[in-house]
Amino acid sequence: MDVLQEIGSSLRNGEDERVAELTRQAIDAGMPVGEILNDGLIGGMNVVGDLFRRHEIFLPEVLLAARAMQRGIDLLAPLLIEEGIPSAGKVVIGTAQGDLHDIGKNLVGIMLKGAGFEVIDLGNDVPAERFVDAAVEAGAPLIGMSALLTTTMTSMKGVVDLLRERGLAGKIQTIIGGAPVSKEFADEIGADAHGYDAANAVEQVKALLAGA
């Protein structure tokens, strides 16, 4: 088993120390940084994501893998910047205005990072202006919003409307999720996609950005 395969296998087992050790080993061996990232860490997390989608592993195992991946990313990050290797894309995320329930949003952020995206996490109780301003400032083509309450999910429409007002609809897309949120609600408010869980949100983000 080569070092990249071993990174993937250690990720699958949530072995963070081992992932860090193998990543260091690959760097020291002079392997291209992009290859370590894409074929080792992201490749490994893709396998973990597939296993989760097939219900072969549980969510805590995905999170253990994400923790292990972060150990590898910590070592690669300065080298990625140095070599100008871009992320898979930028995504601004946050919970809808008025909502403090951020566990779902956090899970989506972790999974997006695992898939190689740069995540700009605005936290919870985020007003529409802040979502839009952050996306413009970061040059992010996508805003992800989460809500747990039927009373706060309505504020997601404010973000969609504000993008339209500023002539940014289509240039900056939106994806929404959360327990009370449905595909029908997404269509109703004009959001571009709905993620029914964290893994599905990553698939939807990939599809939206591929079509952009």
Binding site: E61, L63, R67, Q70, L100, H101, T151, T152
Partner: protein, 241 residues
């Protein structure tokens, strides 16, 4: 019956199976060793940091009717509107597992340990629900001296934000109960802090009073329909006597 209550850590500690289930691990599944170790670590943190407290105030049906109307945001038809007028006794309540656990969850996510943060989050949510149950059982026990009603009466908690009771109902509930005395506050969006808190009304009623059909418009959007299990538990309880 009125006042501030403090609880022992075990009263606010959910069982392992409930927590694993909340993490999507079915009852009959084999729990991977590393997940079991993670959950144990989270339980250890939880028991160290949990500061469970609650407050309760008995209230008349008329007083509760005004609180339930809230800001007028309730669904036109709700189960609780049909239940509380037939209650034998009512009490407002609020419980919390305290702020330290909530801060630790945030810290773990910020420090990029989502696995442990998520495990602690599921324990904390289930812990807050456990406390609400403890309050309900205490209220039930308190009714015992009233022998004419204690025999059949069962207590269930109902909370704003669920089953058509608009979350803005928290405003009047908090004004009447003043849960600030146990460290629970309300923000402008009617959300409680600490986040892992539960508030509402304890309804002491004959078991049949708690029963309702899930034919309300909002039932279609409800992900878990936990009401079924709650209703079954009180009906089975009385049937089994």
């Amino acid at each position: 019956m009125h006042g501030v209550m403090h609880f022992s850590s075990p009263a606010a500690t959910p069982d392992r199976r409930t927590v694993l289930s909340a993490q999507g691990i079915p009852d009959d599944a084999t729990v991977p060793d590393r997940v079991a170790a993670l959950v144990e670590e989270a339980f250890e943190i939880y028991s160290r940091l949990v500061e469970p407290a609650g407050i309760q105030a008995e209230i008349s049906t008329e007083e509760f009717a005004a609180i339930y109307r809230g800001e007028g945001g309730n669904a036109p038809r709700t189960p609780l509107a049909g239940i509380f007028p037939d209650a034998r006794r009512l009490a407002l309540f609020a419980v919390t597992i305290g702020q330290p656990v909530c801060l630790e969850i945030s810290r773990l996510f910020s420090d990029r340990d989502p696995a442990l943060g998520y495990a602690l989050d599921t324990i904390a949510s289930a812990g807050a629900d456990s406390l609400a149950e403890v309050m309900a059982r205490r209220f039930e026990t308190d009714l015992a001296p009233s022998s004419e009603i204690a025999h059949r009466v069962r207590v269930l908690p109902y909370s704003p934000g669920y089953c058509g009771w608009h979350v803005s109902g928290q405003g009047k509930l908090f004004a009447a109960l003043r849960p600030e005395r146990v460290g629970i506050s309300l923000n402008a969006s009617y959300l409680m802090q600490p986040l892992k808190s539960v508030s509402g009304v304890l309804v002491a009623a004959d078991p049949e009073v708690h029963e309702f059909d899930i034919d309300f418009p909002f039932c279609a959007d409800c992900a878990d329909q936990a009401c079924r299990q709650r209703i079954q538990s009180v009906l089975f309880d009385i049937g089994g006597q």
